[in-house]
């Protein structure tokens, strides 16, 4: 409480001065991008035992650092709790917020933020113990449900409960440990948060992950992606187009493995444009010609990022689903780079 208050006050004081330069200039000067990430959500943003950050959100920041500064390692990760995150971005403490954050109208219109591009299409789901034999979230009548605070989840849960006359009783936790303890001990009948988060918690915290099932109902749309401060269109464009570039790279099958050979062999004009062998697309963003090539060769395209962090071979074992490319029946649609 006190920490949070001081933080907000400090940010307000500091913010009197920290808005002088453009984001890109200050990033070049620091030779580093400050990236706000989750304090610990396996698959999206978490530090391992060596202190190295991994996750889908983390890799997006690395890709942007590679495109802008030439090296995927020039990122300072700032772990942020849910209530801290927007203040940190608004006040200039971080350059980009890549922390499984939902895009919504309130956040876009009223909070001085710009939503870049969706990196993960998610939805709020429920996890229940398998032995309860529950097949649908609509069977959760009068149930106590564990909720993690600081997201859009509480409101979605209330809407769902009212629309279906379920009279669900929420228990809202700030501490992940307490929420997990409450659910896995049986204090709550169900656990709700974004479906990807549930998969992450099940894979890491359950004694036997098979004893818990994710219900098929998704009660909300949760498009997750990075946000930047309002008022800096150049930086906004860079972040957006690096993400689209990672999607385009997947679509044209440019990977970290084949990019070197493509550079010398490819004759496909679209591929040559993307990897900077023909038109200079980077110039339009104020970056160099090989901006996307650097991002893909150091971090990988969207598919590689997805499979490495949350895909079927990881403990989270998420299918591409909505996050498949549009050409494969999903929603991921990189805007054309031309």
């Amino acid at each position: 409480m006190i920490k949070k208050t001081t933080f907000v006050l400090l940010c307000m004081l500091v913010s009197l001065h920290c808005f002088a330069g453009k984001t890109l200039e200050s990033i070049r000067q620091k030779d580093q991008i400050s990236c706000g990430v989750n304090t610990g959500l396996a698959g999206f943003g978490a530090a391992d035992s060596q202190g190295r950050w991994t996750g889908l959100d983390v890799d997006i920041c690395r890709a942007i650092a590679a495109a802008v500064l030439g090296s995927a390692d020039k990122v300072r990760f700032v772990p942020l709790s849910a209530p801290q995150r927007f203040t940190a971005l608004q006040s200039g403490e971080i350059d980009i917020l890549s922390r499984n954050t939902t895009f919504s109208m309130t956040r876009d219109a009223a909070m001085g933020l710009n939503q870049t591009a969706v990196t993960f299409y998610d939805g709020q789901g429920f996890m229940v113990p398998a032995r309860m034999g529950i097949k649908s979230a609509k069977q959760l009548k009068n149930a106590t449900v564990c909720v993690q605070s600081g997201t859009t989840t509480e409101k979605n849960l209330t809407d769902f409960s009212r629309a279906n006359k379920l009279d669900i009783k929420p228990i809202v936790f700030e501490k992940l440990e307490a929420a997990n303890a409450a659910y896995f001990s049986g204090r709550c009948k169900a656990y709700t948060t974004d479906a990807s988060g549930l998969a992450s918690i099940r894979s890491r915290e359950a004694k036997n992950p098979k004893e818990h099932v994710l219900l098929p109902d998704l009660i909300s749309k949760e498009p997750l992606g990075p946000m930047v401060r309002r008022g800096d269109d150049e930086w906004f464009a860079i972040t957006k187009w690096v993400i689209y570039g990672l999607l385009e790279a997947e679509e044209y099958q440019i990977t970290s493995n084949n990019i070197e050979s493509l550079k010398s062999n490819s004759t496909d004009p679209a591929v040559m444009r993307l990897i900077g062998k023909s038109d200079d697309m980077g110039k339009l963003l104020g970056l160099d010609k090989e901006w996307l090539a650097k991002a893909v060769s150091q971090v990988g395209n969207y598919q590689e990022i997805f499979e490495r962090n949350v895909g079927e071979k990881t403990p989270l074992a998420l299918k591409r689903g909505l996050n498949a490319l549009w050409s494969n029946g999903g929603l991921q649609y990189g805007m054309p780079i031309r």
Binding site: A82, A110, M111, G112, C146, S149, E154, L157, D159, R187
Partner: protein
């Protein structure tokens, strides 16, 4: 020796200095507020307290005295959070005082076992961070107690399970569509069913964990204060009382405690203030106190400055109210000679 005219000149100068200081402080505050306002505005962040009258849209798991549903506005949600904070703080103050007094007396006792137990308790409890104690109590409560379909039953009236505590007692039952006055007093006895314990009187494990953690943690500090207060009364007084033929319980009730109380009161006030502020840790175990509601409101509206300001003002008001009351009590205890 300053003359009287010099003296009055000095007082004038002092007054002028104090007024200038006040004005300068006021100006700094106004400037800060103004800058914040301009900065928020220039970055497209909407601000203001108007959101307090918008519907909250979220539910609160447990409330005290009032019912809350998601149609009600944010300020009602804040009020519900405040009532929960007041409930846990006032009960916490009561329990920690009783426990602290008992432990303090035990620590001052001449009986070795009592003294040792009390010392050990104080040293262990006050040296472990409160948050860790709180989480331990919560995990203990939800992990290690039986499911509510198979509770521990004490004296046929206390039902303890993973879902908290259910107990017997008189309750004011209000009929479904009647007002408060239509109700009647009814004896409530918990019943065990396969779905769990059914009872009108319950306390959730979230509430019990924060209450236990606050009471036990604060009681260790209060015990030390009581012990020190008693130790400060000179031995001579006890000897004098003994020579007058007073028995030990009379000595502590009539001689030692009333004098020690004056010394105990100011540090005790501090402990009460700490307890109220520490109750904001409730958010860690999912008890919907004021901070928990404030966090949710902050997240949904994005009005960080406003929500934090409300929290600060409420805690400030609570603390000032408590110290005012304690000061009044303290003044009524001073020696009148």
């Amino acid at each position: 020796m300053p003359t009287s005219s010099q003296k009055s000149k000095n007082t004038h100068q002092e007054w002028a200095l104090q007024i200038i200081l006040l004005i300068a402080l006021g100006l700094v505050l106004v400037w800060l507020g103004h800058q914040t306002w301009i900065n928020l505005k220039s970055r497209g962040i909407q601000s203001g307290f108007d959101f307090l009258f918008d519907p909250a849209g979220f539910d609160i798991g447990e409330t005290t005295w009032i019912d809350f549903n998601s149609d009600e506005s944010y300020w009602v949600a804040f009020a519900a959070g405040l009532l929960n904070t007041l409930k846990v703080s006032s009960l916490g103050i009561l329990l920690s005082s009783l426990l602290g007094l008992a432990l303090g007396l035990a620590a001052s006792s001449t009986i070795w076992v009592l003294k040792a137990i009390s010392r050990t308790y104080i040293e262990i409890i006050r040296n472990i961070p409160l948050l860790i104690q709180l989480l331990s109590w919560y995990v203990l409560w939800v992990e290690y107690l039986p499911a509510s379909s198979d509770p521990i039953i004490l004296l046929q009236s206390l039902f303890i399970s993973q879902e908290g505590l259910s107990f017997s007692g008189w309750v004011w039952m209000i009929p479904m569509d009647g007002s408060f006055l239509d109700g009647h007093l009814q004896w409530n006895a918990p019943v065990v069913s396969p779905d769990g314990v059914q009872s009108a009187l319950n306390a959730s494990p979230e509430f019990l964990s924060i209450l236990m953690a606050l009471s036990i943690y604060t009681s260790a500090f209060i015990a030390e204060i009581v012990r020190a207060g008693i130790a400060s009364i000179s031995k001579g007084q006890v000897l004098a009382a003994q020579s007058l033929g007073l028995i030990p319980s009379q000595i502590s009730r009539c001689i030692v405690l009333p004098q020690a109380a004056r010394l105990i009161l100011p540090p005790l006030t501090n402990q009460y203030l700490n307890l109220i502020k520490n109750s904001s840790l409730a958010v860690a175990v999912g008890f919907p106190d004021l901070v928990s509601i404030g966090n949710t409101a902050l997240n949904q509206t994005g009005r960080a400055v406003e929500c934090i300001t409300i929290l600060m003002l409420v805690y400030l008001t609570l603390s000032i109210a408590v110290s005012f009351v304690m000061n009044q009590i303290g003044q009524s205890m001073t020696f009148k000679d």
